[in-house]
Symmetry: C2
Subunit: 233 residues, 2 copies
Amino acid sequence: MKDCTECVVRNRAICGGLTPDELAALGSLGRNQIVRRGQTIVWEGDEALVVANVIDGVLKASMSMPDGREQIVGIVFPSDFIGRPFGQESPYSVTALTDAELCIFTRSSFEKFALQHPDLEHRLLQHTLGELDRAREWMLLLGKKSASERIASLLLELSTRLQAGGCAHDSMVLDRFELPLDRQQIGDLLGLTIETVSRQLSRLKGEGLIALPDRRHVVIQDRARLQNIAMAA
Amino acid sequence: MKDCTECVVRNRAICGGLTPDELAALGSLGRNQIVRRGQTIVWEGDEALVVANVIDGVLKASMSMPDGREQIVGIVFPSDFIGRPFGQESPYSVTALTDAELCIFTRSSFEKFALQHPDLEHRLLQHTLGELDRAREWMLLLGKKSASERIASLLLELSTRLQAGGCAHDSMVLDRFELPLDRQQIGDLLGLTIETVSRQLSRLKGEGLIALPDRRHVVIQDRARLQNIAMAA
DNA sequence: CGCCAAATTGACCCTAATCAAACGATGTGG
DNA sequence: CCACATCGTTTGATTAGGGTCAATTTGGCG
């Protein structure tokens, strides 16, 4: 049986701050589900049937054009919320980038519960406002930054958000981490091609700012210079 | 004295749906304020002291980089909400694109009221989710669309959102409207330069899809073809 | 060991940026 | 009333950053 009081993301997810009773009630509506890398939970344009909390793993939210061009519009980490409550259809798809563990609800049961529990809605509002801030930060990146600035920004963002999602101290950031995205996905997130991503990573490596022990790992060797690149040129 | 029951945006803004008592209480916390074109209400990085509903006019939310590059991250229309509640500092500036009328609150008084009125917070959540959807749609534009696709998308978006903010029927869209942005601002919104904006507009005009009676007005003459350009190529 | 997919590297091209000039409204002062 | 300055915009010429196409290299895995 599911025990929300033991949940590893409880403090950071929207269910944090609920009373034990509320937590039990919400818990009875949801179920844990494992999804494998590559699996899609919600399809763009389809009726949004489910919402979920991410317990473990990394997922992407993506939108695409009729001719197949795809843009990743959000990276979803543990304790983040997935789905579009109070909307008919999902404007984006959600797909697992790594094997992941979710706490999943039907949208209708979640909405009903949320309307009766203002504190939950308040937490959801806070999460949504944070998402909106990050989306706008990304608009600045996509609209104005050069390829190298985009790559540097991404590496710094991942090094902090993977940390926040992990189990170490809040104020720490990781200098070595696993990339949850392949080169194509990095391109789809940054508005670049796979070749440009590769070239810029090679360049940063050549200049000694980062190391790439293998295709799925990054080591930040000179965070200060990386931050310089990310914010100016 | 202010009378919220007469407010022209009451039905669409977050205060819609409040009881008469609640509406009066909220109204007593806010005050109407006129801002002139070009005036900035909130500065990026400053403490977010105020939030507001837009009653009339159009504003922009923008973020900038240390070297001065600027990205417009949101266009704010009548009935939209301005500001960043439940956050210390504003991640963006808000500036009037036209003379505008606001219903303005201190952030602290608004937050206090919101926490006591779940129905208001619910409306705010709905608005924020809508903003997030639009921000993500814009990420697709900035990350993946060509210059002509961006221009076409913007014109279509303005033709519907200016309408929604106006007083005609919901299902209608405008074929002729006033541009609240100059060419530089269009560039800052679409991630293009002023010259590219101008060239693409001239091209659409040359092909008979739009007319430009003067620098601040647009007429959509072939909506279907414009939609084709906006969504594919 | 050898296959296959992912990533890197190279050569070339194209879109949009940059630099520069001309144009057209609007407003001012002679 | 017209010469002229000014600002926003348009148009033109050139350049550069990143895309496209193609050839290798790397590495994961049966």
